[in-house]
Amino acid sequence: MIPFDFEYYRPDTPEEAVMLYDDLYKEGKNPLYYGGGTEIISFSRLYQLYPGAVIDIKGIPECNVLEQKNGYLVIGAALTLSQIQESNIFPLLIHCGGRVADHTIRDKITLGGNICAKIPYREAVLALLTCDADIMIQGTDGKKRVNIHEVFNQFLRINKGEFLLQVIINEKIARLPFASYKTTADGAVAYPQDKIGYPVVSGAGINKDGKLRVAVSGVCNYPVRLAEVDNALNDTGIPRFERINNAVEFFPIISDMEGSADYRTFVLKNILFDMMERLEYY
């Protein structure tokens, strides 16, 4: 239960949404864009967030698209992780996003919400980082399409008032062989999901043109793909174990109640090893 009143808006167009934001911001309402609401509700009920207004983007048609167009997949930010899972459109995203929370919550959590959330894990981002996705951003001066690596560094760095409209992925990359593993404090999570929990390590990898690309979550306080890590893993001149040992050095690995840093390192190494096996990358 949220212990304060706030205003709720549900605009029909992206332009209306950004204008609303601008107005509400100027009125001092501290507005927030609203997707599934799981995080806004959770924080608000714990007195940790006090939005004066929320702007629900679920009524905006562009945010609800799910299509294959000119060799690209276009996925609206307001689609829920469950809807994406059911569409079967992007296997790696389905594996990464399909083990977030549980089925009931995935019926609420949106792709945009997972990307923009405060929670460290944001596992849907792993698929986007490994596949070099583009994202479509709506601002007051219109739309812009940018590569995720330009705007995602620990979190999505977009300007105040802008919001995430769509995610766009090269279909060929989305169809590449992939590996996705998740381990919680209680053990490995299969797909379809058999366990629920925050990741100690959640990893996504693809093999593109004989090169491994890997993104991980749970290791740091944010989902991350590091060029240094990819390079270390692809340094085929040295034995695999050594490459893995070299790669993990680049992560500032966290310690918390789900797992200590040394345990996370241990799990991460095993997951990287399994990924290499699966992707037949030796």
């Binding site: 381990t183 209680d186 053990g187 058999d194 925050y198 109640m257």
Partner: protein
């Protein structure tokens, strides 16, 4: 003649409502003029309260009152009165209720609660059992010696320390026992506090009527206790306090203590008696209301080469948190059964409760047994290894039998102990023990098995009592009214089955009042301790005798014969010799009208009761005494598939064989045992209350408090042995808690075999196993 009595799996009477969502729980009810309360809880584990500023809160429109610990002076507790309903002067645990806002809506109350400013002065924190007992530890309670003890000889504390209870067992000659021991093993164990996590968080409505009558609607396992406590604390006439309890959405022991009821009463009092509803959030349910105890223990066992145990020594130190509640009783119960169900003639046990700045504890399924059973069953495993003996065989050799005595010197016979050997033998077959306990299956995988025994009796007061009232309806069906709360295991259905069996009728024709209302329901001590079917069942049988006596009296007049030649069955009274000469009970249950209109009788009302008997409080010096009427014993096993590379595991199977005396409703019995096993697997594998430095609770949410999820359940195997407890209804024994008791130990035994390390703590997460394998302690 249609008879559906005991031994038949009839559906639980409340099931149709539960599966269709029509069942109503306490918070579903509302009333005109209802106000809502919200608690402000402590963000420190130990701190002086310098000031509480309520001025911003009280200004919010819709807020009626704010109460704090300074609003009145009262200390509560079932054994020792050490707990203010709202913290006064200082807080002793993170989550402790500090103030309560009463407002028109829950939203307003919560909003105002967020505006109450509490100024704290942090104090040094007692954040572990070790911290509590170390020299010079800060004291959680400075004035322990001045607290009122509710009953004499219940609690033995050490003034000037955090040790608030010490229970001793001194049996036999320990020195001689060690001399006879050729092999001695010892080990230390650590099990954390955990939460109950009933699906229904704790909640209450309270109202004080114009004439002073107090009406409490609450989700409790102990309505009559709530009534008595409120009357006592507020100097009320007990009969002026009426407690209503509808279906309860799970309790697991967590709803046995009066806490929110007292706060809600105070809140209602602050608004001139208007009805006030107080519902805990999940976080509050996990931090503010009492939880499950933590235990540090040391066990030393000596045995001769033939495997017979000669001596054992136990030290249990229980983390009861910031207040005693029933922690001291669990400390005592653990000592009383300290040996596990094994014959040990020379025993020494010292069982302590210590205060810490953790959430205080109350009853939890098993009443302390699962914690100490973990210690003894792990040590048994170690002993078997040291002896080079099959662990199941070792347990068989030492299993308690008629003629043996318990640690408190209760003499055993088949009726009060049952047949553990038979449980073990049955288990051995069910889990295919002889195929081996450790099998490498390739690809880093190992399958392994572990076993554990269990036993438990109740720890009821020696005068615990139950009542039952039966009335006959015009259609010949019966109403049964008892004081037991329906908390999930199908108690009301089992009781109907007991009555149906006695009256040789269909249990579906017996209506059991689901709600308990202390104004009209006969007393029942508490719905706890696996004692409900035993105590209330006996009261029901007593009431049935009374009912039959009255039925026969009227029927003998109608059928013009002596009552001795008549029998009741199938809804009729008939002549034993000529059953075709009969009269339907419905013709006489509400008076019998002769053809000429002259009537006799009236509504027949059967009443019965039961009281515990022959119980004997434990002697402080030796522990001699008798806490409960009989034990239920059992044997359990867990089979896992362990990954030796990354230390993760899957639980494949869990099995339990319990001596149930007599199974009243096989599917209900299986269900309640399985539920216990699932809880045991959760506690053994992942559940724990995590306290950060400073005593702040780190995981007070289901996001971070790990539970067994639906899809993780293994295959459950449940079987029963039936050795009658001769004074139990139809020979039954209480088994409601027992499924949980040995499971964490069996899991740890299986995983220790798989990982080839000694795993002596819970939760057994992959990380804990990995660390233990690396040679690090927890």
């Amino acid at each position: 003649m249609e008879t559906v009595g005991i031994g038949v799996s009839i559906p639980r009477k409340e099931s149709p409502d539960k599966v269709t969502g029509l069942a109503r729980y306490n918070t579903d009810f509302t009333s005109p003029g209802l106000l809502y309360a919200w608690m402000v809880t402590s963000i420190y584990a130990h701190a002086n309260i310098k000031s509480i500023n309520i001025s911003d809160a009280i200004k919010i429109s819709g807020v009626h009152a704010v109460i704090t610990g300074d609003s009145y002076s009262l200390l509560c507790g079932p054994v020792i009165e050490d707990r203010p309903p709202l913290a006064k002067g200082k807080v002793r645990y993170f989550g402790e209720p500090v103030a309560v806002v009463v407002a028109d809506s829950e939203e307003k109350a919560k909003e105002a609660a967020g505006k109450i400013m509490v100024e704290y002065e942090p104090l040094p924190v007692v954040n572990s059992i070790k911290g509590a007992i170390k020299k010079g530890s800060p004291l959680v309670h400075e004035n322990l010696a001045f607290y009122k003890q509710v009953k004499p000889n219940e609690i033995f504390f050490k003034p000037g320390t955090n040790i608030v209870q010490h229970v001793k067992i001194r049996k036999g000659d320990l020195k001689k026992g060690w001399e006879q021991s050729e092999i001695v093993v010892e080990a230390e164990f650590s099990l954390p506090q955990s939460n109950h996590i009933a699906m229904e968080p704790r909640n209450v409505r309270a109202e004080i009527k114009g004439d002073g009558q107090v009406v409490i609607n609450t989700s409790t396992q102990a309505p009559f206790d709530v009534q008595e406590m409120l009357a006592q604390y507020f100097n009320l006439d007990a009969t002026r306090v009426i407690v209503h309890v509808p279906l309860v959405g799970g309790g697991f022991g967590g709803k046995t203590t009066a806490q929110l009821e007292i706060i809600a009463y105070l809140a209602s009092k602050a608004v001139n008696g208007r009805p006030v509803k107080l519902i805990e959030s999940r976080e509050q349910d996990m931090t503010s209301s009492p939880c499950h105890l933590g235990l540090e223990s040391k066990v030393k066992i000596g045995a001769s080469r033939d495997g017979k145990i000669q001596a054992a020594q136990f030290t249990f130190i229980v983390d009861v948190g910031a207040y005693v509640d029933s922690g001291s009783k669990m400390t005592r119960a653990m000592a009383a059964d300290c040996t596990g169900p094994y014959k040990i003639d020379n025993v020494r046990c010292d069982s302590y409760s210590v205060y810490t700045n953790h959430t205080y504890v109350t009853a939890f399924r098993g009443f302390g047994r699962l914690s100490y059973v973990f210690a003894i069953e792990r040590t048994m495993e170690k002993l078997a290894f040291a002896l080079g003996m099959d662990p199941l065989e070792l347990r068989l050799i030492n299993a308690l039998k008629p003629g043996d005595t318990t640690p408190t010197l209760v003499g055993l016979n088949y009726s009060n102990i049952g047949n553990l050997s038979e449980c073990l033998s049955r288990l051995k077959t069910l889990i295919n023990w002889d195929e081996g306990v450790r099998t490498e299956t390739g690809n880093y995988k190992v399958r392994s098995k572990g076993v554990s025994c269990l036993w438990k009796t109740s720890s009821s007061p020696p005068d615990a009592t139950s009542g039952a009232i039966i009335t006959i309806n015009r259609d010949g069906t019966l109403n049964l009214n008892v004081g037991a709360v329906e908390i999930g295991p199908g108690t009301k259905t089992s009781l109907a089955q007991i009555l149906a069996e006695r009256l040789k009728m269909d249990a579906n024709k017996i209506h059991v009042a689901m709600e308990v209302n202390t104004g009209v329901s006969p007393n029942h001590w508490k719905t706890v301790a696996s004692m409900t079917n035993y105590m209330v069942g006996n009261a029901v049988l007593d009431a049935a005798e009374d009912l039959i006596h009255q039925i026969l009296k009227i029927a003998s007049i109608v059928l013009m014969c002596p009552p001795e030649v008549l029998e009741v069955g199938g809804g009729k009274v008939y002549m034993k010799e000529e059953p075709q000469i009969s009269i339907d009970i419905k013709e006489i249950g509400n008076g019998y009208e002769n053809p000429n209109g002259h009537s006799i009788g009236g509504q027949i009302i059967g009443r019965g009761n039961f009281i515990m008997h022959q119980l004997l409080p434990m002697d402080h010096a030796t522990g001699r005494g008798r806490l409960g009427p009989a034990w239920a014993v059992g044997a359990q096993a867990v089979e896992v598939e362990f990954d030796t590379r990354n230390c993760t595991y899957k639980i494949l199977k869990a099995a339990t064989v319990i001596d149930a005396g007599k199974v009243l409703n096989p599917k209900c019995a299986k269900g309640v045992v399985m539920g216990g096993m699932c809880m045991g697997l959760g506690y053994g594998s992942r559940e724990q209350n995590l306290y950060a430095q400073g005593g702040k609770r780190e995981n007070p949410q289901l996001r971070t408090y790990h539970l067994m999820r639906f899809g993780e359940n293994p295959e459950y195997i449940v079987d029963f042995v039936e050795t009658p407890h001769v004074i139990g209804p139809y020979g039954m024994r209480g088994i409601a808690e027992h499924g949980i008791i040995g499971i964490p130990a069996a899991l740890a035994n299986a995983l220790s075999v798989a990982a080839q390390v000694e795993l002596n703590c819970t939760p057994l997460t992959p990380e804990v196993i990995w660390r233990t394998k690396k040679g690090e302690s927890k």
